[in-house]
C-alpha cells in the first residue's frame, strides 16, 4: 500500500520534472533576460537595427574550438614540459633529500624541540607550533574554511523564484532515492557511526599528545556525520543536525577561537600573565588552551565538511 502510494508520487513527480522542468527552463531563460540589462530585446528596440543584426550574425557563427586542435595540445604539452624542466633544474641544485646539514634544519628545529614541552605543554610538537607559536596562521586557516562555506552557501543559495522550485525538486528527488530499508547499509552504519564519532573525538582530545588534532579529528567527525546522512533518511539526521545547528556551532566555535587566540596574543605580546596553566605535559588535561582550541577547530572542521557535502548533495540544508 505504502509502496504504491510512493510510486504514484514518484510518477507524478517525474511527469512534473519532464514537463514542468522544461517549461521552467524557458521561464528561467526569460527571467534571465529580464534580469540582465544588456538583453538582446532592448537593443533591438533601439534603432541600432543594423549593428544588432551584425552581432547576431557573429553570435550564430560558432567560434572555432581551438582547444581540440593538435597544436593546442602540443603547446600545452610544451608549456608543461618547459615548466617542469625549469623547476627540476632548480630542485637539482637544492639540498639533497634527507640531508641533515641544511639551513632549514638549524636553530628553528632546535628551539622547537627544546621549548615546546615547557612553553606550550604539548607532546606533539606540531600541535604546539600550529596552535601556539604560529597560531595566527592557524586562526587564518580556520577562517579560510569558514569563508569557503560562506561562499558555497552564497553560491548555491542564489536561486531566484524559478530556480528555487527546481532546486527543491532536486532535493525531493534526492530524498526519494535515498535508501529507506537498506538493511545491510543501515545496520553497518548504525554500528560504525558511533565508533567513527568516538574515534574522531579521541583524535581531537589527544591532539596535543599524539598524532592528530582538531583538523584531522574534525575531518573524521565530519565523515561520520556524512556516513550517517547517506545511510539514513534526511529526516533522521535533521532531528539533531540542521542548518541552525551548523550555524550556531560553527559561529560559537569561531568566536571562542578568535577571542581565546586574541587573548593569548594580547597577553603574550604585552608580557602579561595569561593565568592559563599548562599543567603537566603528557596528561590529557594539559597544554592550557591547546585542548579547547583543538575542540573548537574540530567542531568547525566537522561542521564545514558536513555542510559542504550537504550543500553539494541537495543544495539546501
Amino acid at each position: 500500500m505504502m509502496k504504491k502510494q510512493k510510486n504514484d508520487r514518484f510518477a507524478s513527480f517525474l511527469d512534473w520534472l519532464e514537463n514542468g522542468g522544461n517549461a521552467l527552463d524557458e521561464e528561467m531563460q526569460d527571467a534571465l533576460r529580464e534580469e540582465e540589462p544588456e538583453a538582446p530585446g532592448k537593443q533591438k528596440r533601439e534603432k541600432k537595427k543594423k549593428s544588432s543584426d551584425k552581432t547576431a550574425d557573429i553570435a550564430k557563427k560558432p567560434r572555432k574550438a581551438y582547444a581540440d586542435s593538435w597544436w593546442y595540445r602540443l603547446l600545452a604539452f610544451a608549456v608543461a614540459a618547459a615548466l617542469i624542466w625549469l623547476l627540476m633544474e632548480a630542485v637539482d641544485r637544492m639540498p639533497r633529500f634527507g640531508a641533515a646539514d641544511t639551513l632549514m634544519d638549524s636553530e628553528l628545529t632546535e628551539f622547537y624541540v627544546e621549548h615546546t614541552k615547557e612553553e606550550t605543554g604539548a607532546m606533539n610538537i606540531v600541535t604546539g607550533i600550529i596552535l601556539n607559536y604560529r597560531g595566527f596562521d592557524t586562526l587564518g586557516e580556520t577562517h579560510v574554511l569558514f569563508i569557503a562555506v560562506c561562499t558555497v552557501l552564497l553560491m548555491l543559495s542564489i536561486y531566484g523564484e524559478q530556480d528555487e522550485k527546481k532546486r527543491l525538486a532536486q532535493g525531493a528527488l534526492e530524498r526519494y532515492f535515498e535508501p529507506h530499508h537498506d538493511v545491510i547499509l543501515q545496520s553497518a552504519a548504525r554500528l560504525l557511526t558511533p565508533l567513527i564519532l568516538i574515534f574522531g573525538l579521541y583524535i581531537i582530545a589527544n591532539g596535543h599528545l599524539s598524532p592528530g588534532g582538531g583538523f584531522s579529528g574534525g575531518a573524521v567527525l565530519g565523515a561520520g556525520l556524512i556516513l550517517y546522512q547517506n545511510a539514513f533518511e534526511y529526516r533522521k539526521i535533521e532531528k539533531f543536525f540542521t542548518y541552525k545547528t551548523f550555524k550556531w556551532v560553527s559561529v560559537c566555535s569561531l568566536l571562542f577561537y578568535s577571542l581565546a587566540k586574541g587573548y593569548h596574543f594580547f597577553t603574550g605580546a604585552n608580557h602579561l600573565d595569561s593565568h592559563i596553566s599548562i599543567g603537566t605535559p603528557g596528561n590529557i588535561l594539559s597544554g592550557g588552551l591547546l585542548l579547547p582550541l583543538n575542540f573548537v577547530v574540530g567542531c568547525v572542521v566537522a561542521c564545514t565538511m558536513y555542510a559542504l557535502f550537504t550543500m553539494f548533495r541537495k543544495g539546501e540544508f
Binding site: 534571465l32 533576460r33 544588456e38 538582446p40 537593443q43 552581432t55 553570435a59 567560434r63 574550438a65 582547444a67 600545452a76 604539452f77 608549456v79 608543461a80 615548466l83 617542469i84 623547476l87 627540476m88 633544474e89 630542485v91 637539482d92 637544492m94 639540498p95 639533497r96 633529500f97 634527507g98 640531508a99 641533515a100 632549514m104 634544519d105 628553528l108 628545529t109 632546535e110 624541540v113 627544546e114 615546546t116 614541552k117 607532546m123 606533539n124 610538537i125 606540531v126 607550533i129 600550529i130 604560529r134 596562521d137 592557524t138 586557516e141 580556520t142 579560510v144 574554511l145 569563508i147 569557503a148 561562499t151 558555497v152 553560491m155 599524539s210 598524532p211 583538523f215 572542521v301 553539494f312
Partner: protein, 124 residues
C-alpha cells in the same frame, strides 16, 4: 643531471606533479579536470615541503620517552605548513566545485569554451 636523479627523486616528483597540475589547471578546457589539476598542483607542493622537512634517521616530532636531544627529531615546521596548506586547498576546491555545479546547472556543460560561447550568445 641524470646521475643525481635518485638523490632528488622526491623533489623532482613533487615539481613534476606541480607542473602537470599547473598545465592542467591553465590549459585544459574541462572544469572538472581543471579542479583535478589544482589538486595535483597542491599535492606537489605538499610533497615538496614534506620531503624537505624529512631528515634521515630521525624521529617524528612527537616527544619520545627519554629523548630530549634536538638532533633526534625532524623539523616540525614543514608538517605544520603542509597541514595549513591542505586545509586551504580543501576550501578552495570546495569553492571551485560549487562554481562548477552552478555553471553546469545553468549551461549544461563543463567545457569552459562552450560555456563562454553560450554566454556570448545569451548576452549582448
Amino acid at each position: 643531471m641524470l646521475g643525481r636523479v635518485f638523490t632528488h627523486l622526491d623533489g623532482l616528483t613533487a615539481v613534476a606533479l606541480f607542473g602537470i597540475g599547473f598545465a592542467l589547471l591553465l590549459l585544459d578546457k574541462n572544469l572538472m579536470k581543471k579542479i583535478i589539476g589544482f589538486s595535483m598542483m597542491d599535492s606537489g607542493i605538499y610533497l615538496f615541503l614534506a620531503s624537505y622537512g624529512y631528515i634521515e634517521g630521525r624521529l617524528a616530532p612527537i616527544y619520545a620517552e627519554g629523548i630530549s636531544d634536538p638532533a633526534a627529531y625532524v623539523n616540525p615546521l614543514p608538517a605544520g605548513l603542509v597541514l595549513t596548506g591542505i586545509v586551504v586547498g580543501v576550501s578552495v576546491t570546495a569553492v571551485m566545485l560549487g562554481l562548477t555545479v552552478r555553471l553546469y546547472e545553468r549551461y549544461h556543460s563543463l567545457d569552459i569554451d562552450e560555456i563562454a560561447e553560450k554566454i556570448r550568445r545569451e548576452g549582448k
